[in-house]
């Protein structure tokens, strides 16, 4: 069939299928610089008859003016600087249609320097076409782009091995490239649907099977794209509906936002996180002048809506709405895999602002766990993340955040970081090793009033001869917490103090016998110990607690329970020292993989930032350490 008559058939198909009902698929074209992305787009347009009249001629004229051979890239490289330097600087979009559907083609720059523009383009797409130069093979950006596509959540990927004409359409060489790149993609969890040998310049396997590679039995690029699906709205997942704004129009208080996942109906009970307020949906607001359009009774993922509630509760932008039985995680600390685009490197200890859905909050980089080399996936450590690097980090906020793990709910499991005025990086969330703190902060009982004691704290302290309080020992397993706690208890008891040790193993036999070792139950274990020790303190006693309590959030909660009577004692010893002691043989088991999530080995220990007292047991003998503690108690607990 001639090109013109083929185009006519296509247009006839388009006309019987009105645009409003046709699928739109957004495809990003990525790959290493000079591997022929823009050329492939140009060829696809030409061979499908999608070029506007006169466009071919005008590109030809531009090339002649510059004295260069005909260059398809000029179709999309709209900026003078791009044409002059022959590289794509910023991402661009162009539209075409096949019999099957409409396409938005997103061209993304392959030059490392313009990674932020590549991400801008790629993040908008439903699927990706990755281009590799057959003569050059898999290069740095081929891998990096593959890795970033995965990180951005793009799961449909086809690979075009381009410039096959330069290697005489050799099957063997193609097979080698295919194997190498498939191995890489598989190792990061991406399965390429197709790997297609093409020549964009010659037009082989772009739209037409030209006969240049009879050994290839798979689809052309266009056929491969037609097999992809537009990203479906996640309507069947738990509801995630971030509050974007609250309007007061016409005496209605409308909570506006876009439903990101799931659905809800009028009458549903919703919970706002992290404030944990609840209310029912009274109405779904809308404005339309189209006759016969009825007010909606339900809203689904993808829709920008407004609702009113059955009672007036104060909610604001940034809260995440869900149903009561499937709420998001609440935490002030989480793990993230990030890509960094900032002009300044990301630095450990530095503060940034996070944008998580519609929420903005200050956060600090607590640690940089590793820098990921996207070429060979090796890890290295560093105190900072440079521009265009990928890293695993731990982020801490000063307030509770409502979020999800990226693998469970992508839209509420990703965020950007702002440095000064700029979006400087993006990341996806993992809670590995960290607890959901929702149950720890939610009070389920209401209508409770505290009973006032008839006896004052002063009166109790006067009778006991000392104040009550909590000595909260924290540190690695083997740091000497229990040894010190027991020795201190004995010394203080002999001196006439009312003192009692709460030890990890002991409370797990009774009070906390119903708790497992999951992150949530570990946090609950510490919460209960915090509350119990606060009761001891209020009763006028000195409670010594001996728990690893590796998380700052848990210790802060214990501090809040005992208020001013809380004394955080950091029993400090490095992992090597503790491992050499290994009194219970736990390190050996952890190293052998018999205990998972072992603090210091396979789970984090977050050092106290402002401990009232630090006792370094690696350099201080035990008697000296106990002496130091006794002095501290005598000074702080005297009446």
């Amino acid at each position: 069939m001639s090109e013109a008559s083929e185009a006519k058939v296509r247009l006839a198909a388009v006309n019987t299928n009105p645009a409003s009902y046709r699928d739109l698929l957004r495809i990003v074209i990525v790959g290493h610089v000079d591997h022929g992305k823009s050329t492939l787009v140009g060829r696809m347009f030409h061979d499908t008859g999608s070029l506007p009249d006169g466009k071919y001629e005008s590109i030809k004229a531009m090339c002649e003016r510059r004295g260069v051979p005909f260059e398809w890239a000029f179709l999309m490289d709209a900026l003078q600087a791009e044409r002059d330097q022959g590289i794509t600087i910023d991402t661009s979009q162009i539209w075409f249609k096949t019999d099957a559907r409409d396409y938005t083609i997103i061209d993304a720059p392959g030059h490392k320097e313009f990674l932020k523009n590549m991400i801008t383009g790629a993040a908008q797409s439903d699927a990706a076409l990755l281009i590799i130069d057959a003569a050059e093979g898999v290069r740095e950006q081929s891998r990096r782009h593959g890795y970033l596509l995965h990180l951005l959540g793009i799961r449909q990927v086809a690979v075009a091995v381009n410039k096959m004409d330069l290697i005489n359409y050799e099957k063997d060489q193609f097979d080698l490239i295919e194997q190498e790149y498939r191995d890489y993609l598989t190792s990061i969890g991406v399965t390429p649907t197709f790997v297609i040998p093409v020549s964009a310049r010659q037009g082989d396997n772009i739209v037409n099977q030209t006969g240049a590679m009879p050994w290839y039995k798979g689809p052309t690029v266009v056929k491969a794209l037609d097999s992809f699906m537009p990203s479906a709205s996640p309507v069947d997942r738990p509801l995630r509906f971030p509050v974007q704004d609250v309007y007061k129009f016409d005496h209605r208080r409308i909570i506006a936002g876009r439903v990101e996942e799931g659905r809800f109906s009028i009458g549903d009970e919703l919970v706002f996180s992290p404030s944990n307020k609840t209310a029912r949906v009274k109405s779904i607001e809308y404005w339309s002048t189209v006759p016969g359009k009825k007010a909606p009774t339900e809203a689904v993922a993808g829709e920008s809506v407004g609702i009113t509630l059955d009672e007036q509760i104060f909610v604001e932008r940034g809260e995440l709405i869900s149903h009561v039985d499937h709420p998001p995680i609440e935490t002030d600390v989480f793990r993230a895999r990030i890509f960094w685009l900032g002009h300044e490197p990301l630095v450990k200890g530095k503060s940034y602002r996070i944008k998580l859905g519609t929420l903005e909050a200050p956060v600090t980089v607590q640690s940089i766990e590793s820098i990921v080399d996207t070429s060979d996936l090796s890890n290295s450590s560093s105190h900072q993340v440079e521009r265009n690097q990928v890293a695993e980090i731990v982020i801490r906020a000063r307030r509770m955040l409502a979020l999800d793990e990226f693998t469970k709910a992508p839209k509420s499991g990703r965020f950007v970081l702002i440095d000064k005025y700029d979006i400087a990086g993006g990341g996806i969330i993992s809670m590995e090793g960290y607890a959901d703190q929702r149950d720890l902060i939610t009070s389920r009982s209401t209508n409770i009033t505290r009973v006032e004691h008839g006896i004052t704290n002063e009166a109790r302290a006067f009778r006991n001869g000392h104040k009550g309080g909590v000595l909260w020992f924290t540190g690695l397993s083997g740091a000497g917490k229990s040894t010190l706690a027991v020795a201190l208890e004995k010394k203080l008891f002999e001196k006439g103090y009312n003192v009692f040790v709460l030890d990890g193993d002991n409370v797990r036999h009774g009070l906390n016998a119903n708790l497992s070792f999951s992150p949530e139950d570990r946090a609950e274990n510490i919460r209960r110990v915090g509350e119990v020790s606060a009761l001891f303190a209020r009763a006028g006693m000195i409670a010594i607690t001996s728990f690893i309590s590796p998380y700052r959030s848990d210790r802060d909660r214990a501090r809040a329970a005992a208020e001013a009577d809380f004394h955080e004692i950091y029993v400090k010893a490095d992992v090597a020292t503790c491992e050499a002691r290994d009194p219970k043989g736990l390190y050996k088991k952890a190293r052998a993989g018999e205990i998972k999530d072992f603090t210091g080995i396979s789970a984090p220990y977050e050092e106290p930032e402002n401990a009232e007292l630090t006792v370094d047991t690696a350099s201080t003998p035990i008697e000296e350490a106990v002496e130091k503690l006794v002095n501290y108690v005598e000074m702080k607990f005297k009446v």
Binding site: L11, V14, N15, P18, A19, S20, Y21, R22, D23, L24, L51, P52, D53, M62, R65, M76, A78, L79, Q80, A81, I89, D90, S92, Q93, I94, W95, K116, N117, I119, T120, A122, L152, S233, Q244, D245, Y247, F249, D250, G257, R258, E285, Y286, W287, S288, T289, V290, G302, E303, S304, G306, R317, L341, K355, R414, V416, I418, Y421, D422, I423, G426
Partner: protein, 264 residues
Amino acid sequence: MDRLDQLESQSIFIFREAFNRIENIAMLWSLGKDSNVMIWLARKAFFGHVPFPVMHVDTEKKFPEMYEFRDRYAAEWNLNFIRELCPPLDTIDDTLPPAARSAARKTEGLKLAIKKHGFNALFAGIRRDEEATRAKERVFSPRGLTGQWDFKDQPPEFWDQFKTDFPPGTHIRIHPLLHWTEIDIWLYTQREQIPTIPLYFAKDGKRYRSLGDKDITSPVASTATTIEEIIEELQTTRVSERSGRAMDHESEDAFERLRADGYL
């Protein structure tokens, strides 16, 4: 949700982000099909209201039908309407080719109006598919102190997280229709029954596909007299939308230079 619902929802999301994050914002109304859809989408986003000024930067060289349309719907849609005039042509760089000079006059008028009202940001109804440099635009697009566009170093924009923090003095263009195409605009105009200037429909074998100043805008050959026929025409045409806009075609980079300097 069909395709128009998705486009509409995304535009509403953009409107609400901008309205929440940025103070002193206004909408540019060019009176054309796109900016009419833009007003419509604002009313959807804000439940029948347009909660910011709607400004027409007037070259006084539009078609009479456009002025009639403006005066009627500014009142009917209950807009907080502002009209600002462009400065006289003889104050504009006379080394520019004629159509570009005329367009530069509009840019100048726009800058003066922004200064006069102290707007930090403007909604503009440009679309990526109109023209190749617009295809490279961001939804939230910062401009320098003199309104210029630094297209070589645009901010990253992904996951619907827009750049909403700026050093003082930055001006922002917000593009709620960036992801729409010409055919989407007509399909939506049809579905929502949005009023349209009659110049878009064919008379004596010609119609305007894009409306600008009288002296630098020409009609294209067409027999489409209804929106249905326009949609049908667009599904088969290979003529570009702005072929009738003279300033795009005076030199290879004419439009890029105009945009870098602050043209829409």
